[in-house]
Subunit: 280 residues, 2 copies
């Protein structure tokens, strides 16, 4: 698989780079960003934290706003940020251009319903194709953790729960914790997966945690002034499910914080240090 | 003077807020951002670092991308980021919508040429009107420092040199160091100030440093892979002028870094700690 470098910026002694490549899984050209910490210059192979962004985002939001590279440089961790949906000509979008379905809103599932089933396979892309590309082209090892925000927090926890052998740890900011039971999740799952809600459970963190066989340690931060908290996010439902099965998930309610990257930036250091415990 | 709060995000224990207000000096409505560190909750009055952004920016670029709030929270310093030009209906813009003149490109001068002289008084706004508003409405003291990037690096150094009693320290990333002798500066100064280059010297850092009476300690960071380095920025001319008059200006050439916020984020901590030495 070939990839094309389209930008490079030195940062904190390491390098932020963007690449494009043809995705077989998604059937379109995709862009992703990678931060490579300074340790690679000494020939070190570094572990990778995958970051899944929320609705409307691309690979750029986290890399520009979260301030994670400072700590990644210290800890010797690469960060990979994919886009949030397939893109480009021929990729279906919501006919009304909704922000919460279609482009920018892939929800990290493999769609089964037309027309979405043609391109919207973000689950396979994030779990398999993208790590294979990253591990082929960059000086990284196969130690992986995964994190994300909102829709991407759902994606990170759900993907770790389904692939405990592939990820050492998982974390999330403001995750959509029980998508089968909130408007964002119901809209997306109905569109991508159809109306039979039995097919939604394989992508619902709260459902998956109850049935887990092998645990991936998880940290969740949630602002208590987040405008989406009660209707969409429901982290208390996830925390209760985790507690009911003794799952190692810590939910931290953060007083006064909202849903923005100002919140993420405030606590990203804790998340990187959490993952570093398991990646080393 | 009244101001209207339009956003508030908790960050690093403090608060990022945006305000709009009617500017008498600029004759239009303006927006600015302020970061208030957690120390104000204990009744403390904190010093202020003013940040002047570069071409095309608003109050948002620095607040979203530089990661300065983490260190400001630790040090107990407020940060104020104004816009880069007057805005709104009736404010003249470059007829061809150039990125380096007109809206988003006020160059921190008081324009004397029509039609710019009606609104483009960013020098008076940054030096006088905005600090008066900030010191009236927020729990800050009158200890001030000033920093900026590119066009805003020019603005920060030039304003500190002209107002040594108002600022304890100045710093810049990639400043336009000698605007009278580079294409960006010549275009802006010709448009705003007219063709007589004698009128440009009052806004040219390299000219001002040679004639300074009272020094404001200054730190300048410049990436050696900055695409604008040779044609537009010329920090070596500024450093030579500073050296010729024993001015306390440190120029650090940073190997491999470019003109982006990835560069600023990498070294903003040094700048805040530099200013904190003089603000306390």
């Amino acid at each position: 698989m070939t990839i094309e470098n389209i930008s490079c910026n030195k940062q904190f002694g390491g390098w932020h780079k963007q690449y494009t490549h043809q995705s077989d899984v998604l059937g379109c050209e995709m862009r992703f960003a990678i931060y490579l910490p300074p340790q690679i210059a000494m020939g070190e192979k570094v572990p990778v934290l995958y970051w899944l962004s929320g609705l409307t985002c691309t690979d750029e939001n986290f890399m520009q706003k979260a301030g994670a590279q400072r700590i990644a440089a210290e800890l010797g961790i690469a960060i990979v940020a994919p886009d949030t949906s397939p893109r480009g000509e021929g990729v279906a979008d919501d006919p009304e251009g909704a922000y919460d379905f279609g482009l920018g809103a892939g929800f990290y599932v493999n769609a089964t319903e037309a027309p979405w089933s043609r391109h919207y396979h973000m689950y396979d892309y994030v779990v398999n194709e993208l790590p294979a590309i990253v591990e082929e082209h960059f000086p990284v090892n196969q130690e992986r953790s995964i994190s994300g925000h909102s829709m991407g927090g759902h994606g990170a926890l759900m993907i770790a729960l389904r692939n405990p052998a592939r990820y050492h740890s998982a974390s999330a900011f403001s995750p959509i914790s029980n998508p089968s039971h909130c408007p964002w999740g119901q809209k997306a799952f109905t569109g991508y997966l159809g109306t039979d809600s039995n097919n939604w459970k394989q992508y619902d963190t709260t459902e998956l945690i109850k049935q887990h066989q092998q645990a991936v340690p998880a940290l969740v931060d949630q602002g208590d002034q987040d405008g989406f908290l009660e209707e969409q996010l429901k982290p208390e439902v996830l925390a209760a499910a985790a507690e009911s099965v003794d799952y190692p998930l810590e939910l931290r309610m953060q007083e006064g914080y909202d849903h923005s990257y100002y919140f993420i930036a405030s606590f990203i250091e804790d998340h990187l240090r959490f993952h570093a415990q398991y990646l080393k």
